[in-house]
């Protein structure tokens, strides 16, 4: 999935490879299902591809019925970036039982998004539910809420919610009032208090709203769910970087999520039901797009002396 050349052709190859492994992927389907159901054509090539359909079944489809996905490959203009990818509603599932605080996700995130060490789009927290319960690690991203308190309060529409569920910020629009930071109950946002890290290096890079790079002084920055990767059909940076299989990422509309470490695709509803998945601060009514699986393994985590550092 490190493919940089992203022509429709290479995508096809990727789909074939992926499909024949019988895995199916979040990145696969939206454009596919449509063409699968189009049975009036009779162009059978005899070459079969295995896909995961919306009912969670693996089906074999003739490769001729698969249209190429040009519409997903629209140029990455920032006006396009405000709309969101069609047919998608992205979700992240964090399996707390697997997190061992490797922090590869944090490192990758900070490196990719031009962040200083004290700026977090993603922060691995040590949580303790009560005095006598064991601590556990909890990676915390922007929750990409469906009722986002930050988007409501923005006076200039700099931060916005896309049709695919992603909450982004346009740092060419942001006036730096920081109302969104005050409004966010998850403390998920960060501000460029100074000139951003490596500003010199990035000064000629064109602004990509889906990556929020280059960062700009005096503006707010936040987790983008790696919208730039998603547009290319890849998993988010943090999800791919995890060595411990903590993250599942996928499309809620397809009820499918893919583990970033193992590449295994499972049913979202099944995963959440079997593991008693939950969301953070459900009572606030923010309706997050990030789900957590309980930290069943927490006894193995050594007691943390100072959780406030």
């Amino acid at each position: 999935m490190e493919d940089q050349d992203y022509s429709p052709k290479s995508r096809r190859r990727f789909l074939q490879k992926f499909g024949s492994l019988g895995l199916g992927s979040l990145a696969v389907s939206s454009g596919l299902i449509e063409s699968c159901t189009n049975t009036t054509k009779d162009l059978a090539s005899g070459k079969k591809i295995t896909l995961l359909n919306s009912k969670n079944e693996l089906v074999e489809v003739d490769s001729a019925y698969i249209s190429n996905l040009n519409k997903d490959l629209a140029p990455n203009h920032n006006s396009e970036s405000r709309k969101g990818l069609p047919g998608k509603k992205f979700v992240l599932v964090v399996d707390l039982a697997k997190c061992k605080n490797a922090r590869k996700c944090m490192d990758k995130c900070q490196a990719v998004h031009q962040l200083r060490p004290d700026q977090h789009h993603l922060n691995v927290l040590v949580m303790k539910d009560s005095e006598h319960t064991a601590p556990y690690y909890m990676p915390k991203h922007c929750q990409h809420c469906d009722n986002p308190p930050c988007v409501k309060v923005c006076p200039v529409d700099a931060t916005f919610k896309r049709s695919d569920g992603i909450v982004l910020i346009d740092n060419e629009r942001c006036i730096g009032c920081r109302f969104c930071i005050a409004a966010c109950p998850y403390s998920a946002r960060s501000f460029n208090w100074y000139e951003p890290k490596d500003a010199e290096k990035y000064k000629d890079v064109a602004y990509d709203i889906e990556k929020n790079v280059p960062q700009k002084k005096g503006t707010v920055t936040k987790c983008t769910f790696s919208a730039d990767c998603l547009r290319e059909g890849k998993l988010p940076y943090c999800v791919s970087a995890c060595p411990n299989g903590v993250y599942y990422f996928g499309n809620e509309l397809e009820d499918a999520v893919t583990n970033g470490t193992s590449g295994e695709t499972v049913s979202l509803s099944g995963l959440l039901a079997q593991n008693s998945g939950y969301r953070l601060m459900e009572d606030l009514g923010t309706a997050p797009s990030v789900y957590y699986l309980p930290p069943n393994d927490r006894a193995q985590i050594p007691e943390i002396e100072n959780t406030n550092s």
């Binding site: 700026q119 691995v124 529409d157 006036i175 930071i181």
Partner: protein
């Protein structure tokens, strides 16, 4: 008979001349202390300006605000200034509409405080912006669902009405100045001429003036309540413990009336002593303002009880860290000093008449104003330092917020700006309304127009 009449008329005219001379005396006598004072204020403003330029160049990192405490002294100062500005409507509109004649000499003081505080509030909110160069985005991309946009709308509306309420009743006075300030520099005379709008003092003109004033006074009351209610919603519209409160609107408005009344008392004391206005700003005024201050403080005390007692009783998770921080934690010292010295003790003292004498009342009012400033600080800062999720993987300094010298000096500069506007205003215009005072003293328009 005609002789007697003429004599009496002459006598009245002399009395009026005396009154005008009295009330314009601050404009005619400028000593070196005043120049020193203005110089001092200008230095403070210049220092603030230098720090602000540095902030623009280096970013808001020159403040102690960071990702956790992302609002600080600037925003609390903004809330404080908006609160102070509310007094314009209290003294000018509410008291006047309820026929409280005694407040007449105080109306212009209250109104100039309101206008100066509003300008300063608008400046400080721009100072707080990460990208002041994009201020125009608000007008181009502004979205009505953001409380910031509501705030901008109502604050500017309030500013316009306040300016009119300051200016309109001043027109007859300016017309008087036009005739009496022949010894002033040319630009100043020209200014009076332009600003008096050709005022002749006819019955019709007075009629129009009074009607416009009444309309504005009625208009400003809901707008005044809105500015502080909407400002409180900047906080109350979030889910944060300590801000997520339904009484924030009236709680802020009550607090604003309290600090505003105290600010007027401080200013009227300084003016009375400095310009020997004992005759016009009397002990009675202080006594009555003291009573008004007790009333507004009691209302505020009631809201404080609701705001802190009820959550402290329940100790809801999320809310408890915040409330404990205030009552017994990091902010306890400041909290109790503010509550006791800035509210409870003043109420207890002001109930007794001797404490409503000018000097004691001044001291009490100074405590209330300072307390009110820190109260706004306590509303803004501790909440942000106690988010729902633990503060981790940040430098140790992120757990605290203490304003930097740069922030403090900029805020001091913003207060100095208010003092400067008021001081210069006193030198250019009569701070106590001349024609209203004259009317109340029984001079009719005919004499006024001919003087």
């Amino acid at each position: 008979m005609t002789d007697l009449y003429r004599k009496e008329k002459q006598h009245k005219k002399e009395q009026l001349q005396e009154l005008v001379a009295d009330l314009t005396s601050p404009m005619n006598h400028t000593n070196s202390n005043f120049k020193l004072w203005i110089g001092f204020l200008l230095v403070l403003i210049a220092v603030a300006g230098v720090f602000y330029v540095r902030q623009i160049m280096q970013g808001l990192g020159t403040t102690d605000m960071r990702d956790i405490a992302s609002w600080g002294l600037y925003i609390s100062n903004f809330v404080f200034l908006i609160a102070v500005s509310l007094v314009g409507s209290l003294i000018t509109a509410i008291l006047k509409l309820s026929n409280q004649q005694w407040a007449t000499p105080l109306t212009r003081i209250a109104e100039i405080i309101a206008v100066a505080a509003l300008f300063s509030a608008l400046a400080i909110i721009v100072v707080d912006m990460g990208r002041p160069d994009r201020l125009w985005h608000i007008f181009v991309y502004g979205r009505l669902q953001s409380p910031i946009v509501w705030d901008i709308l109502v604050v500017n509306t309030y500013l316009v009405i306040s300016l009119l309420l300051l200016y309109l009743p001043m027109i007859p006075d300016i017309a008087l100045l036009r005739k009496n300030m022949g010894h002033k520099p040319k630009w100043q005379q020209k200014m009076y001429k332009t600003l008096s709008l050709g005022w002749q003092g006819t019955e019709d003109q007075f009629k129009i003036l009074n009607l416009s004033m009444t309309i504005l006074m009625v208009l400003i009351i809901p707008v005044a309540l809105s500015i502080h209610t909407v400002t409180s919603w900047l906080f109350a519209s979030t889910l944060r413990p300590g801000w997520d409160s339904t009484i924030f609107g009236p709680y802020f408005v009550a607090g604003a009336f309290m600090v505003g009344a105290a600010a007027v008392i401080v200013t009227m004391y300084i003016i009375r002593v400095n310009y020997k206005f004992k005759e016009y700003i009397t002990d009675f005024h202080f006594d009555t303002m003291g009573k008004l201050l007790v009333l507004t403080s009691l209302v505020y005390l009631y809201f404080n009880l609701n705001e802190f007692m009820v959550p402290a009783y329940k100790m809801k998770s999320g809310e408890s860290a915040h409330i404990l921080g205030l009552l017994v934690g990091d902010y306890a010292l400041m909290f109790w000093l503010v509550q006791i010295l800035g509210m409870i003790l003043p109420i207890l003292l002001m109930v007794f008449k001797p404490f409503r004498k000018p000097l004691p009342l001044l001291i009490i009012s100074v405590f209330i104003v300072i307390g009110a400033f820190f109260k706004r600080y306590l509303i803004v800062t501790p909440t942000l330092l106690h988010p729902f999720l633990p503060v981790q993987n940040y430098p140790a300094s992120y757990h605290h917020y203490s304003p930097t010298a740069s922030e403090s000096m900029i805020v001091i500069g913003s207060i100095a700006g208010i003092a400067l506007v008021i001081s210069l205003f006193i030198k250019l215009f009569p701070i106590i309304p001349i024609w209203e005072t004259a009317h109340e003293k029984g001079f009719d328009n005919e004499i006024l127009n001919n003087s």
